[in-house]
């Protein structure tokens, strides 16, 4: 069980997505998942070992590291990836439910179980809203926990048992900062894609409803 599972999940979702949805899946695959696995994970691999404080006091480094990194950047990144991909499961479940229903009644109940209309449209819209919500929540969390996306070279720590105030040095701060900005940029891109898809679907559906009503009136 690893990231391959997420990849398979997203491939399944891709089948029932709109054009913009497919671009979103491609962006998540290539610029988030792949970058995380081949590059970002290794930067944060030894973050605790390489975190150094200017003190020989046992326990000081541990306490300071825990104080400045309650949840590591890389874990937040992984959680964000998982939470952001999960709402798409709603769509997959709904399509499976439709197909099950057709099998159970042994007749064609829908034009196509994968077509985004009726109840599936509502599910799709809810999944888009949830995806966007999670993206924004994690970006705000990142910003609030770490005071922006900057990673300082030096942090001053005065937690017990460190004697007075002690200088602690973070490893690879510039590299971490570059990747965090990259993460934030791609998150914003995904938010824009989700919002465009939302507007596109609402607009398309409103036009359809309006035309139906107009044709009915004329008749």
């Amino acid at each position: 069980m690893s990231w391959g599972f997420l990849r398979d999940l997203l491939s399944g979702v891709n089948k029932y997505s709109t054009r913009i949805g497919k671009i979103w899946v491609a962006v998540v695959f290539v610029f988030r998942l792949l970058v995380y696995i081949v590059a970002a994970e290794n930067i944060w691999k030894y973050e605790h070992d390489e975190f150094e404080c200017n003190s020989r006091q046992p326990g000081c480094e541990n306490v300071c590291f825990d104080h400045f990194f309650p949840v590591s950047h890389i874990r937040l990144w992984a959680l964000q990836l998982i939470m952001v991909s999960t709402p798409s499961l709603l769509v997959v479940f709904h399509v499976a439910y439709r197909e099950n229903r057709e099998k159970h009644h042994n007749q064609k109940l829908y034009k196509s179980p994968g077509k985004i209309d009726g109840g599936l449209l509502c599910t799709y819209l809810i999944s888009l809203i949830l995806k966007t919500g999670f993206e924004i929540v994690f970006l705000v969390l990142f910003y609030k926990l770490y005071n922006g996306f900057k990673v300082p070279r030096l942090v001053k720590c005065d937690m017990r048992p460190c004697p007075n105030t002690v200088d602690c040095y973070i490893s690879k701060p510039t590299e971490k900062m570059i990747f965090l900005y990259f993460l934030a940029a791609v998150s914003c891109l995904c938010i824009v894609l989700n919002l465009s898809e939302l507007s596109y679907l609402i607009f398309k559906h409103s036009i359809k409803c309006y035309l139906k009503r107009y044709i009915k009136k004329r008749q």
Binding site: S2, A26, V35, V38, A39, N42, Y46, R153, D167, T174
Partner: protein, 262 residues
């Protein structure tokens, strides 16, 4: 999920590429991605652990390492490979979209559709003409731009492609100037030069492919113009009109959904 997934996605593009494109893909996977994964990652694996500075001052090593290596070679290469492979995804999407269109025509029972079954559509190889030519050419252009940008970024950040054995660091909190020693500098230099050389070969292959596509385009255009000049009779006018219609039909892109190529 790793480079293998990228290989699966790009493998589909291979079928619809030119011969030079196929060579480029092979060079990318064997001489860049594979070398990165099986060799280069090991060489740079212990880079910060074995980066040693001639001081006991806590924090000096961290600060000096960060100063000399703002972004590690290995991460830059990984990003370069991802960005350079991404334009090929455009081609993969365009091909998948065309296939989807043909499947739709086949299912509608369109008489213009000349396929016997869906399996034939799945296996069909599309020629690089019409809108696919533009997508393909743009993807090569973007590849070139990304390669050039990353090569320049490397050169700019590391002052050339050599990895020095010794670096003098005077960033705070290091006392005065301190000697810092990089681990495995010669091996890193060798691999850096190798990766740069293969990048240059890929740039040359892309330029050659671009020239080939442009030449083909110009020749096709002049052939069409030549044909219409030498045989201006009514029958050929109708034939060319029918050919244009056929091209328009096959290139139409109304109300369709794009997907990945399988």
């Amino acid at each position: 999920m790793d480079w293998g997934a990228l290989h699966t996605i790009l493998g589909g593009v291979n079928k619809h590429s030119t011969s030079i494109g196929k060579i480029w893909l092979t060079v990318l996977f064997i001489f860049r991605i594979m070398i990165l994964v099986v060799a280069a990652e090991r060489v740079w694996g212990d880079e910060q652990d074995d980066f040693v500075c001639n001081t006991l001052q806590p924090g000096c090593k961290n600060v000096c390492y960060d100063h000399f290596f703002p972004i590690s070679h290995i991460r830059l290469w990984a990003l370069q490979l991802i960005f350079v492979s991404t334009p090929a995804l455009l081609v993969a999407m365009h091909v998948a979209y065309r296939r989807h269109e043909k499947k739709r025509q086949f299912r509608k029972g369109d008489q213009k559709c000349e396929y016997k079954d869906i399996e034939e559509i799945k296996k069909q190889r599309f020629r690089i003409e019409g809108s696919l030519w533009w997508t393909y050419t743009s993807s090569i252009f973007f590849r070139l731009v990304f390669e050039a940008v990353f090569m320049y970024a490397f050169y700019f950040m590391y002052d050339g492609f050599r990895m020095p054995r010794l670096m003098k660091c005077n960033a705070w909190p290091c006392p005065n100037t301190v000697d810092c020693f990089v681990s495995r500098p010669t091996e890193k230099t060798v691999f850096t030069i190798f990766m740069i050389a293969v990048s240059s070969i890929c740039i040359l292959l892309n330029v050659a492919e671009l020239c080939y596509l442009l030449t083909k385009f110009v020749l096709r255009r002049s052939k069409k113009a030549g044909n219409s000049k030498h045989q201006p009779n009514h029958e050929n006018k109708e034939e060319t009109k029918q050919n244009e219609m056929n091209e328009l039909i096959s290139d139409s892109c109304q109300n369709t959904v794009i997907g990945f190529s399988s």
